[in-house]
């Protein structure tokens, strides 16, 4: 009797572990199939011409030049606005906030913001920036909306990076007679740089692929722009932040929902491949840069 339950247990064990491994295999296969599908169907459409020519609304053979530039522009603008704010907020939460009721309210509010669907944040941007403040569909409105999506995540990341710096480092700073702020700016921040940089790069990947927050803020059209016009106030200048700007991710969505472009599928696969490759580079770059900085800034004792 005892032996038979033991045998059953052994058999169950074998099957269950096998089942777990099989499910892991399925997940890996899904990823390989996804990436393979995107790259194999997409890459043949990616050419120098595809990357450097403007899109066409009604004809075939359009490129993604302006969308690609718009994505990068919004990415840079968003990071420029959100990094200092997230850094400040992260410093407050990690270094100044006392564990009391007020702090827990602050944390809850930030958690709520981070869990809001990005379409809701996009609609808020539409309501406030596009309609109320009359910024219209513009890169600026888009950047603010994406900043709202990005801020809570980046703040949390900053807080965690700062928190990971050992308490002894703070005490060492205070023992040397440094003020709290000097300890933060001269000891804690430099020590946290690998974590901070990794967080910013990963958030760059999220911003680059963001679309739901942008369709009603940055708009769904990419008017022709001139890359030789360096005056940021001219409506045709590529630097003008007040022009409507469809990004790469929005372009893929738009092509597949309106369906007036004859080669929509080809362009979307090409654009998806470009999007994925950029994000792959960003992810790999963050890993590499993170570990490089960690080594360089004395993470390991030498």
């Amino acid at each position: 009797m005892k032996k038979s339950t033991n045998v059953t247990a052994q058999r169950n064990n074998r099957w269950a572990l096998l089942g777990i491994k099989a499910m892991v295999g399925v997940v890996v296969l899904i990823l390989i199939a996804l990436l393979g599908d995107i790259l194999i169907t997409g890459l043949p459409h990616v050419s120098w011409h595809f990357l450097t020519s403007p899109s066409k609304d009604f004809g075939a053979g359009g490129g993604i030049a302006n969308q690609l530039f718009n994505s990068i522009y919004i990415l840079v603008l968003t990071l420029l606005i959100s990094c200092p704010i997230a850094l400040g907020a992260g410093i407050y939460l990690s270094e100044f906030a006392r564990p009391n009721f007020l702090t827990s309210v602050i944390r809850t509010i930030i958690e709520v913001l981070s869990s809001l669907p990005s379409i809701v944040i996009g609609l808020f941007g539409y309501l406030i920036l596009v309609i109320k403040f009359q910024f219209d569909f513009s890169i600026f409105s888009g950047a603010i909306a994406v900043m709202l999506v990005n801020l809570p995540l980046l703040t949390r990341n900053t807080e965690e990076a700062l928190h990971a710096v050992p308490q002894t480092q703070r005490e060492a700073g205070w023992a040397l007679g440094l003020s709290k702020w000097r300890t933060i700016s001269r000891i804690i921040l430099p020590a946290a740089i690998p974590g901070l940089v990794t967080g910013v790069i990963l958030s760059a990947g999220r911003i680059f692929g963001e679309a739901a927050a942008l369709i009603y803020t940055a708009g769904q059209s990419a008017p022709l722009i001139s890359y030789t016009n360096w005056n940021p106030f001219s409506p045709t200048s590529f630097l003008n932040p007040m022009r409507p700007a469809e990004t790469l991710a929005v372009h893929i969505w738009k092509l597949n929902t309106d369906g007036i472009t004859p080669d929509a599928t080809q362009i979307s696969s090409g654009a998806s491949a470009v999007l994925i490759i950029v994000i792959l580079i960003i992810i790999l770059g963050s890993r590499w840069l993170g570990s490089y900085l960690y080594r360089k800034m004395g993470g390991t004792k030498s």
């Binding site: 247990a9 052994q10 169950n12 064990n13 269950a16 572990l17 491994k21 499910m23 892991v24 399925v26 997940v27 890996v28 990823l31 200092p84 704010i85 400040g88 907020a89 410093i91 407050y92 939460l93 100044f96 509010i109 930030i110 709520v112 913001l113 869990s115 809001l116 669907p117 990005s118 379409i119 809701v120 609609l123 309501l127 406030i128 709202l148 703040t155 003020s179 709290k180 702020w181 000097r182 933060i184 700016s185 990947g205 692929g209 679309a211 739901a212 369709i215 991710a249 929005v250 969505w253 597949n256 929902t257 979307s268 696969s269 998806s272 999007l275 994925i276 994000i279 792959l280 992810i283």
Partner: protein, 307 residues
């Protein structure tokens, strides 16, 4: 003497710097708080206008599935019934969570219990890549691979709850997995040792000890995944079919709250009933995300008490 005294009594340069630093960082956090509160406020005001300005009854909004805010129904009232969208949103959310949870737990178990070193090195990049793929790309793949596959297998157009759930399944898988890993890692090692010392097999240890100890954490992970699925807009919008009808089966075109907002917001005029009704949908989304948050907090508290 007076000069020296004043100098000594005044806050030093370092103190001033200290205060300035604290104030600047406080301003940053207050900025985020104000933005969040005004976001909730503005969407609430817009969303409630349907009920207060246009006098649509709450009961109709939540329980009628006739959605046609631009036209009057048989009873002379505008048709603002969001039941179809709410049902579809919950359907894709629950279905994708049911699909994703076993796979997520399996991957997490493999990475923490079965093959901690090799598994983590192999699967960590897999999870990061799945997180990194943008939602429009998931939607696009859903549109060109999943929808045609469903069309050939089950007939119909292929658009609908099933296609939406399958796309969301892959999207929320990494979320649930990485949070499950965190909670499995928090199970103390002596639980494992104790169980193995009693002669339990690995599976018995996993099933009877580890998974039970980590249950609150796993539940939190699932709710996080559901929150993400509920709020996902574009990927779902591309494969759901976008017809504001009550889903009668898994393969009939329907619309979720997010997909309806995405496809209709640009076509309505600010301040009219069709527009206000859409803002009410946004308000429902917002409230649901707050509810998911509360749920996560609640599970966390319950889990703590059990330890």
């Amino acid at each position: 003497m007076n000069d020296v005294q004043r100098k000594l009594m005044q806050p030093s340069a370092a103190t001033k710097q200290d205060r300035r630093g604290k104030i600047i960082s406080l301003i940053c956090i207050v900025f985020i708080l104000i933005l969040t509160v005004s976001l909730i406020g503005f969407i609430a005001v817009r969303g409630l206008a349907t009920f207060f300005t246009n006098h649509v009854s709450l009961r109709e909004f939540f329980f009628s599935s006739a959605w046609n805010p631009g036209q009057l129904g048989k009873n002379g009232q505008p048709q603002v019934g969001a039941a179809a969208m709410i049902t579809a949103s919950f359907a894709v959310t629950l279905l994708s969570a049911i699909l994703a949870t076993p796979f997520a737990v399996a991957v997490a178990l493999y990475m923490t219990e079965l093959a901690p070193k090799r598994g983590a090195r192999l699967l960590q990049p897999v999870i990061e890549l799945l997180v990194g793929i943008p939602s429009v790309v998931y939607g696009f793949i859903g549109l060109i691979v999943v929808v045609p596959a469903i069309r050939t297998l089950f007939g119909g157009t292929g658009f609908g709850v099933l296609a939406g759930s399958l796309v969301l399944f892959v999207m929320i898988l990494p979320t649930i997995t990485s949070l499950t890993i965190d909670s499995l890692k928090q199970v103390p090692d002596y639980y494992r040792s104790a169980s193995l010392a009693l002669g339990a097999t690995r599976w018995q240890t996993i099933y009877k000890v580890i998974l039970r100890a980590a249950l609150p954490g796993i539940l939190t992970a699932v709710v996080f995944g559901m929150a993400r699925a509920f709020g996902e807009a574009l990927a779902v919008q591309m494969v759901i079919g976008n017809a504001a009808l009550m889903p009668t089966s898994l393969v009939t075109p329907t619309a979720t709250l997010t997909s309806q907002l995405t496809s209709q917001m640009g076509d309505t005029i600010m301040g009219t009933l069709p527009n206000n009704a859409l803002w009410s949908l946004a308000l429902v989304l917002l409230l649901m995300s707050v509810i998911f948050n509360v749920l996560i907090k609640w599970i966390g508290k319950r889990g703590e008490m059990q330890k």
